[in-house]
């Protein structure tokens, strides 16, 4: 099936009409088939239920998280897709960074368990009612949640790891045979610094 570039007018209009039921919600078309929705955090479950029950939004394709350290907030984006309307809805909410707790939507969308567990691991955000908040991908990690903006990966790495010499003696042997580092950084960089 080939989709038209933008949804028929009645689809976008009825979707916007439906969304008006949620108080404090703002919509913005980010593209012909991409609808951005900003809403207060406490109304998100109502929105999801509305979309799932009455507009065929059965697919939660991702939850993404953005850290806003200066505003002391986390932004959560729920990406939802309807196979009937063929319009992507991106629901943005903001929650305070401290204590960083939000509700799980696992009861509405089971795949949320994975996204929430992932966000918990990477940002330290806790989802109440999510079936498992244990370690997920970073099973060997016991440092701070690494995707938070204040986590300084470079400093952590410098502290944790050691490096080997880039020009060890045996390299001369290889260079004598015509191998080794053929293009040095200073050959490429304009300022000629190594």
């Amino acid at each position: 099936m080939k989709l038209a570039a933008s949804p028929p007018n009645n689809v976008s209009a009825s979707l916007e009409f439906l969304l008006q039921e949620i108080p404090g919600l703002r919509t913005k078309w980010a593209g012909p088939r991409r609808l951005r929705v900003d809403l207060p955090a406490e109304t998100l479950p109502a929105l999801l239920e509305l979309l799932k029950g009455r507009a065929g939004y059965v697919h939660l394709s991702a939850i993404s998280c953005v850290d806003w350290p200066t505003q002391n907030e986390f932004e959560l984006v729920y990406h939802l897709w309807s196979y009937e309307l063929n319009v992507l809805v991106m629901a943005h909410i903001r929650i305070p960074r401290d204590p960083g707790v939000y509700l799980s939507v696992y009861d509405l969308y089971h795949p949320a368990a994975f996204f929430e567990r992932d966000i918990h691991e990477m940002f330290g955000l806790y989802f109440e009612g999510s079936p498992d908040m244990g370690k997920f991908i970073l099973t060997e990690w016991d440092g701070p949640p690494p995707m938070r903006k204040e986590f300084d990966s470079e400093a952590w790495v410098m502290n944790q790891f050691e490096w080997q010499d880039y020009r060890p003696d045996w390299l001369a042997e290889i260079e004598a045979k015509g191998g080794g580092i053929t293009t040095r950084p200073q050959d490429i960089r304009k300022d000629g610094k190594p």
Binding site: I137, L138, T139, E140, W141, G143, P146, F151, S153, E154, W156, V157, Q160, F161, E162, W163, Q164, Y166
Partner: protein, 251 residues
């Protein structure tokens, strides 16, 4: 490798602790072993990173490693070369060490890609180990991001020449300096890190026990080590509970 002295004699002498009677035929036999060894390499490619993408052309008809006597192998127990192709995350490193320790000696490790040398472009990543040689002895690095099949093959040929000349015996280093490698592993994985392989026992068995095999890190290992027990075999007879349960039953 142009003079006779630089070929195998020195290294092969070290290989046999009991020898030293000046029997010339013994060296001939060792030389033959080294030749055969270098000509029949089974390679376990642990495809950790993007560098693995250059291996299929190197292995298949385009560049055809098999004409050099190098073949892919599916299990660590039957492989000679461990090919680590790319960045090594901390999580993967554990598995690589387990794999490496299961391989039979003599074994060779090749680090393909710049990422195995010094972290490559993942140098500031919190989740990747930087220097592969800190955790196991590496025989050959093939640097590049990613190295082309020609480079892979020339690296492998170099390794073959090294094996032939008896110069590539870094696997002994793992036994002789086990404390050093274990220390680096513990630093990354925590002090209760333990593998199911008894490396110290193997070092004794192979006659590779050295002054640096034991040290403070192996002492730490002994303190945290849970004894390795043989895997218990259970046969589910007469309606006894077996290890395997039907998942549907649980609810």
């Amino acid at each position: 490798m142009s003079t006779l002295q630089s070929i195998p004699v020195v290294a092969t002498k070290a290989e046999k602790p009991s020898g030293g009677t000046g029997n010339l035929l013994a060296n001939v036999f060792d030389e033959l072993t080294a030749f055969c060894r270098s000509r029949s390499l089974f390679m376990l490619h642990y495809c950790t990173g993007c560098g693995a993408i250059e291996l299929p052309p190197a292995m298949t008809s385009r560049f055809d490693m098999e004409r050099l006597g190098i073949q892919p192998m599916v299990t660590p127990r039957q492989a000679d070369i461990l090919l680590v192709t790319g960045y090594v995350s901390t999580k993967t490193l554990k598995r690589i060490i387990l794999t490496y320790e299961q391989m039979n000696s003599p074994k060779y490790v090749i680090g393909i890609c710049s990422c195995t040398v010094n972290g490559g472009m993942y140098w500031q990543s919190y989740a990747t180990a930087k220097v592969l040689a800190d955790y196991m002895p590496v025989d050959m690095y093939i640097a590049g991001c990613m190295p082309r099949p020609e480079a892979v093959i020339s690296g492998l040929r170099e390794l073959m020449a090294n094996i032939r000349a008896g110069r590539s015996d870094n696997w002994r280093d793992y036994y002789r300096r086990y404390d050093h490698y274990l220390g680096n592993q513990q630093r990354l994985f925590g002090e209760n890190w333990q593998t199911p392989t008894d490396v110290i026992g193997e070092a004794r068995h192979y006659g590779q026990f050295g002054p640096e095999t034991l040290g403070e890190h192996t002492a730490l290992l002994e303190r945290h080590q849970t004894p390795l027990l043989p895997f218990e075999m259970r046969l589910g007879l007469g309606g006894e509970k077996t290890g395997v349960e039907n998942k549907g039953d649980k609810r």
